[in-house]
């Protein structure tokens, strides 16, 4: 395990999710007790991750998604991946991409904006000459 800023309680509460979502794959119910399709449940988790302002919550959800992804990629490597597993894997990867991309876009924008500002200033000076 690597150095993280996770709050232990939050991390524990999300670590169970891969198991819950697997239950949903086999036709079970979401933790709320209502009937739910696999996509709808995981989508709710991913939406929560995206909208959460708490980085540790996002991190805990991503950890859980990565954990499940890792198990499925292992199956794939050992040629044991089922059709349902393959579908689940691509779904997980889409959610991971979605959450991480949102973080990424917000992080690097400051540099981008600074460069745009300088570029327009240079063009303005150029035009004045």
């Amino acid at each position: 395990m690597t150095e993280t800023n996770l709050q232990p309680v939050e991390a524990r509460s999300f670590v169970v999710e891969p198991k819950l979502s697997s239950r949903v794959v086999s036709g079970g119910t979401a933790p709320t007790g209502r009937e739910s399709s696999q996509g709808a449940y995981v989508s709710t988790v991913a939406d929560h991750a995206r909208s959460s302002r708490e980085p540790s919550t996002r991190a805990a959800i991503l950890d859980a998604l990565y954990e499940e992804r890792s198990a499925l990629t292992r199956d794939r490597r050992l040629s044991r991946l089922t059709e349902a597993g393959a579908a689940r894997l691509s779904e997980l990867e889409a959610y991971i991409d979605d959450i991480e991309l949102a973080e990424e876009r917000s992080a690097g924008d400051a540099v981008w904006r600074q460069l745009e500002r300088i570029a327009s200033r240079v063009v303005a000076i150029d035009a004045k000459r």
């Binding site: 395990m1 690597t2 150095e3 993280t4 991190a59 991503l62 950890d63 990565y66 954990e67 890792s70 990629t73 292992r74 490597r77 050992l78 991971i96 991409d97 979605d98 991480e100 991309l101 973080e103 990424e104 876009r105 992080a107 690097g108 400051a110 540099v111 981008w112 600074q114 460069l115 300088i118 570029a119 200033r121 240079v122 063009v123 000076i125 150029d126 000459r129």
Partner: protein
């Protein structure tokens, strides 16, 4: 006058040699003892991620080193490697995206039989296994299980990583354009002797240099530490005075 961004490393590439260990900090103990090595690692890896080569400045704000973290190559979360949690040679500097994806993952014996393993950039040349093609990381040898495993488990071709590379590549021509305009204006200044224009251009150059540093394209990083744990004064490394009876007993036992 030469442009400030001429000799910068716009496209980082995987090294064709193992990254040398240039720091030799003293041993530490405790569950989070390894955190003391942070500055050594930042200096040693030039504020770049050991796996994806992103610079701290590309990833996040400077207050928390872009969210970079001390990475345990052999994960401390696994019982067999827990004793290595404070061993410097087991530590790398990694971006949060790579660090999270790798987590405590490690190939099991069944996978190892197939050749699955992580590549340690301080032991092997990453460039022998991985190459950056556009926004993707590809395997140098398509049959290499080590390369495949590392790319897959660290998720080096995730959307976030690709976005980061896309931004980096999009920024390069834009910077070149600004540079070219600065050169033209300099020539005009030389011809007309306009001192105000020269001041403005110098200010722009300085800002450009700042950006180059910010995104890691300059050899010196934004806020790299001037000292690290290796260079810490001796008294800081000395064992602290025991505070409790239990600690006193322990120290007495150790002599």
């Amino acid at each position: 006058m030469s442009s400030p961004l001429r000799a910068v490393d716009v496209n980082p590439t995987y090294a064709d040699h193992p990254l040398p260990r240039t720091h030799a900090p003293p041993e530490v103990s405790g569950e989070k003892g390894f955190a003391k090595y942070r500055d050594c690692l930042r200096l040693e890896f030039s504020a770049r991620c050991a796996y994806c080569l992103s610079h701290e400045g590309e990833v996040g704000p400077s207050q928390n080193y872009g969210g970079f973290e001390v990475e345990h190559f052999k994960p401390q979360g696994r019982r067999e490697f827990h004793s290595l949690r404070n061993r410097y040679s087991n530590l790398l500097w990694a971006c949060p995206t790579c660090n999270r994806a790798k987590g405590h993952r490690w190939p099991d014996p069944e996978e190892q039989k197939l050749g699955a393993r992580f590549i340690d950039p301080t032991v092997e040349a990453m460039g022998d296994f991985l190459v950056i093609n556009g926004v993707r990381v590809d395997q140098v040898e398509p049959t290499s299980q080590a390369a495949a495993y590392t790319i897959e488990q660290i998720n080096l071709n995730s959307a976030a990583h690709k976005e980061r590379r896309r931004k980096r590549q999009a920024l390069a021509p834009k910077l070149a354009l600004v540079e070219a305009k600065i050169e033209v204006l300099r020539e005009r200044h030389a011809a007309t002797g306009d001192a105000d224009a020269l001041d403005a251009l110098n200010a722009l150059e300085s800002e450009l240099r700042e950006i180059g540093t910010l995104v890691g394209w300059q050899p010196t990083s934004w806020d790299m530490p001037s000292t690290c744990f290796c260079a810490a004064p001796a008294q800081q490394l000395r064992r602290r005075k025991p505070r409790t009876r239990r600690e006193r007993r322990k120290q007495n036992a150790l002599g």
